[in-house]
């Protein structure tokens, strides 16, 4: 069962708070990069209007439209900032993943940054290559959308296609590709494979090792919950700093989940690899296999 991998993933996350802190910190810095200009613009627009505290505690669409009108130049400028922020995030995700895999797999013998230093280029190449199946997924979903819309016209069909089929197929498709991408990275870092071979191994991984799908789903659900809770907390006005602190706690927890998630997957990868080795080579791995069973 996947339980053993999951449990070891949890213990990995607990043992590596600094790694989680690093991932969380970068995430927070990028968030602040975007929101500091927003703070300045809103402060300039509202601080001396007398409406500031009213608007902070209750929604008034008329005043908000006036505020938006006033802050439009800053907000428009921020939109343009996304052109560099999003690629940066994607690059960070690509290189941070191999850094995490490297340090977790070597039990900390090699640092996160050493991992990045050794595998960053190939990890980026791997990530860029994965854009192809992602694009194919989107195309496939769009084609399916048109076919379904033709087969099931009308508002009932539109409801199920737009609100159920599209999001479910998108999330499921992206999750499957993400799972493949994770194991491709492990093939690259742990298996020392070349980029193309890593990709091919990554694609075949969930079909060869179905446990990896179950493990992914468990972590996915936990990650989703940790991501949803800050939103749920946010919807009602309340103690601002307290809410923010709780949200950040959950977001830190979410970063910890990333570490634990990788930890579980690395564990599963190692076990699967060991199981595929010849009998003599398995001797060293038997204690772990026994524990799993």
């Amino acid at each position: 069962m996947s339980y053993g991998y999951f449990r070891r993933g949890i213990s990995t996350a607990v043992r590596r708070p600094a790694l989680a802190g690093l991932l969380y910190g970068v995430n927070l810095v990028i968030g602040l990069l975007v929101t500091v200009p927003i703070y300045l613009a809103l402060n300039s627009a509202t601080a001396t209007t007398g409406y500031s505290s009213d608007l902070a505690t209750q929604f008034d669409i008329v005043l908000w439209v006036d505020v938006m009108e006033d802050t439009r130049p800053v907000l428009t400028g921020l939109l343009f900032q996304l052109f560099w922020i999003f690629p940066l995030i994607l690059l960070w995700k690509a290189v941070a993943s191999v850094g995490v895999i490297c340090t977790l797999h070597t039990q900390g013998l090699r640092s996160f940054w050493q991992g990045i230093g050794e595998y960053a280029g190939r990890a980026i190449l791997l990530a860029v290559t994965f854009l192809v199946p992602i694009a194919a997924l989107f195309i496939g979903i769009v084609v399916s959308f048109f076919i379904l819309s033709a087969v099931w016209p009308g508002e009932v069909g539109a409801y199920w296609i737009n609100l159920v089929f599209l999001p479910v197929s998108l999330v499921a498709g992206l999750a499957l590709l993400d799972l493949m991408h994770d194991y491709a990275r492990m093939e690259l870092v742990i298996g020392k494979k070349k980029v193309l071979e890593s990709i091919l191994k990554g694609f075949s991984w969930p079909f060869r090792h179905f446990k990896s799908v179950g493990l992914y789903v468990v972590w996915f659900v936990i990650a989703l919950l940790l991501l949803a809770i800050p939103t749920i907390i946010d919807v009602r006005p309340g103690g601002l700093w307290a809410v923010f602190a709780v949200q950040q706690l959950f977001l830190f927890g979410r970063a910890g989940v990333t570490v634990g998630w990788f930890g579980s997957e690395i564990d599963l990868y190692d076990s699967a690899l060991t199981a595929e080795l010849p009998a003599i080579a398995r001797v060293e791995a038997e204690p772990r296999l026994a524990e799993e069973n």
Binding site: T35, Y39, L42, N43, S52, S53, Y159, Q248
Partner: protein, 662 residues
């Protein structure tokens, strides 16, 4: 308890029975009934057409003879791409596009003659009578533009004049080919594959003959004139009141709803034949579909009938609830609903959100959440048209705001009163009202463009909706706050009582407002109804200066100055509330006429806040944020800090989701 229930039911059934056989509450005519239509109609679902025989009686209201009649053939707007409607709309109306299967429709008059024996029943097949035939006397006219190819208005010269007060009766055979619906009328295939028909603007409809003194025809004019306009993208309708007696045949499996009340119904050889009677109305529309689910309910004297698409079965009660809310408020704020029926039609696509006498089309979507009140809004709005379009019947071609705008004002007020601060959307702490939605749609959308008093087809840049719905609602909300609600309500009731069935104009509405309020409102109407004035009053600055001690106790006195600036060409009286450090307040009033003013205060405390329009009475102000200012030393970053912290967490979440893709 049981006895009481039985008694109530018995009384209720008697009450219903009393009105079941008549179209209005009154035994007497409520309107001058200048027209009377009797029609025998058959729907052919296969050819998507309606063949009909019409007997029309028209009475000459003028003091001179009339030798020409004019008719609307609205359906010819969909005859081809050359009609004025199609040229103006480009085949797109209210977000719906002309159907790709068969978008075209139209009316063919195959026979028109003066009835030789008006006393007889209308015949489905007219005998030839060359002496009284008018077919060759029909000619298309184009009162609004030079479009020779538009065929939506016809003039018919008569072989003899209709004398003052006399009537003429015509027998007309016509066939109406229905377009695939994209603008209110026609057919559409439903979810099940069965057709839905919304048969509106479907028959040759005599125009309004305005007599001297009526609307804008001078009292001393030698004669009246026909007021007929072509069918435009941005216009609705105008017609005289009368009676309708319409017999409709549809396939047996079809459910049908129509203007008026159901006089009789029978099924013979697979054909359902129904007869509807409507009195004191100015139009007749009907709908038919084999898919309709039919529900009935009652509100006081009104029998409500709901024709619902099967996919919306779960929302039947929402329709009835919304209709009853509308009945209650309109009766209280405007006046009595005199008809005995209301048919709610849950149509398809472009047929939805439209009003006809005693019949309205609503509109919803499958599984519409409760917190989105689109169904309620559209039902209440369309019901409100029963008053402004239906009973007051202003000329919507020339003064659309008198219907759409006044109705939007009542709708927003009603919806906000009934559903509260989240009347439009109430989700996850985000609430906003209908009044706010209309205000924003006006003040943030080129507010200085588009006067209320404008011919509908002359609006440019898409200003029709803003100037006919949103701006009038905001203008009337501001007027209400200026006059006070009780005066406003009295004005609405008086306007309705005085002008129902009489086609009031903007001038008539202003006269009633002035007479009820006892105020000269030229300054208001000239700026915001006839004109395009806008304004934004803002606090330019506030400052304090210590000017010495006030008394022997050595308490300090401050001289505080507030400068208010007006931008825009509009003027509106303003109220300023000055708040001092100790919480004391002082109210000052300003006419708002100058481009700026300075107000000086002397107080033992510093002035800490200046607030124009603190009660939010002047909804026409295009920017409310700058109405209020506090001292810089009291600057408050609550909003900025809250927004920043919340956004930071949100963006962090977004980044995690986004990075999951890669």
């Amino acid at each position: 308890m049981l006895k009481i229930t039985i008694l109530i039911l018995a009384v209720a059934s008697c009450f219903q029975g009393a009105y079941a056989r008549q179209a209005t509450l009154s035994e007497e005519p409520l309107s001058d009934r200048l027209v009377a239509y009797t029609m025998v109609v058959a729907l052919d679902p296969d050819s998507k057409s309606v063949s009909a025989t019409q007997r029309l009686t028209w009475r000459n209201p003028d003091r001179v003879p009339v030798d020409e009649l004019q008719f609307h053939l609205y359906l010819n707007a969909f005859k081809d791409e050359n009609s004025t409607f199609m040229k103006e709309s480009g085949g797109i109306h209210r977000g719906f596009t002309a159907g790709d299967q068969d978008p075209w429709g139209g009316i063919d008059i195959t026979r028109m003659r003066i009835a030789t024996d008006p006393a007889t029943d209308v015949s489905p097949s007219l005998a030839p009578d060359p002496g009284s035939d008018l077919l060759d006397r029909i000619r298309f006219i184009h009162p609004d533009d030079e479009n020779e190819l538009d065929q939506t208005v016809v003039a018919v010269s008569l072989p003899y004049s209709v004398q003052p007060g006399e009537s003429i009766t015509l027998d007309i055979d016509f066939e109406s080919r229905l377009p695939e619906i994209f603008s209110r009328t026609g057919w559409k295939t439903g979810e099940s594959g069965n057709p839905f028909f919304m048969v509106a603007q479907w028959f040759p409809k005599i125009a309004v003959y305005e007599i001297p003194g009526q609307r804008f025809v001078p009292e001393d004019a030698p004669r009246g004139a026909w007021n007929a306009h072509q069918f435009h993208k941005n216009s609705e309708f105008y017609a005289d009141f009368g009676t309708y007696d319409v017999t409709i045949s549809v396939p047996e499996t079809y459910a049908l709803g129509a203007t008026g009340f159901l006089e009789s119904e029978e099924i013979t050889d697979g054909i359902r034949t129904v007869r509807y009677i409507a009195d004191d109305v100015h139009d007749f529309a009907w709908t038919a579909s084999p898919d309709f689910l039919v529900y009935t309910d009652q509100w006081e004297h009104v029998a409500i009938r709901l024709l619902l698409q099967p996919a919306h079965e779960a929302q039947a009660q929402r329709y009835f609830d919304a209709a009853k809310v509308a009945f209650k408020y309109y009766a209280d704020w405007v006046g009595e609903y005199p008809y005995t029926t209301l048919t709610l039609v849950d149509g398809i696509g472009g047929a939805n959100g439209m009003e006809y006498p005693t019949l309205i089309t609503g509109g919803t979507v499958y599984r519409l959440p409760e917190w989105v009140r689109a169904l309620e809004l559209v039902t209440i709005h369309e019901f409100g048209h029963q008053y402004f379009y239906g009973l007051l019947a202003s000329n919507e071609f020339e003064e659309a705001w008198l219907d759409e705008g006044v109705n939007s004002y009542i709708e927003t007020r009603l919806v906000d009163a009934e559903y509260g601060p989240g009347s439009v959307i109430d989700f996850a702490g985000l609430q906003f009202t209908d009044t706010d939605a209309q205000r924003i749609a006006y003040t943030k959308n080129n507010p200085s463009r588009g006067a209320l008093f404008t011919n509908s087809w002359e609006y440019q840049f898409g200003d029709y909706s803003k100037a006919s719905y949103m701006k009038p609602a905001t203008v009337l909300h501001t007027l209400e706050r200026y006059l006070g609600w009780e005066t406003m309500r009295e004005f609405l009731r008086t306007y309705y009582d005085t002008w129902r069935f009489r086609h009031p104009t903007t001038r008539d509405l202003q006269d009633v407002a002035e007479s009820v309020s006892g105020k000269d409102l030229d300054w208001f109407f000239d700026q915001f109804v006839y004109g395009t004035a806008t304004f934004d009053y803002k606090i330019h600055s506030l400052s304090n200066r210590r000017i010495g001690t006030a008394d022997e106790n050595d308490s300090v006195t401050y001289e505080s100055r507030v400068i208010i600036v007006r931008t825009g060409d509009g003027v509106f009286p303003q109220t300023l509330r000055a708040t001092f450090r100790d919480g004391s307040e002082e109210i000052r009033h300003w006419s708002g006429e100058d481009s700026w003013t300075e107000m000086v205060f002397q107080n033992e405390e510093r002035l800490v806040e200046a607030f124009i329009d603190p009660e939010n009475q002047v909804l026409l102000d295009t920017n409310r944020l700058n109405n209020r200012q506090i001292l810089r030393v009291d600057a408050d970053n609550s909003l900025a800090r809250t927004a920043q912290l919340r956004l930071t967490s949100f963006i962090q979440q977004l980044l995690i989701v986004f990075s999951g893709i890669f």
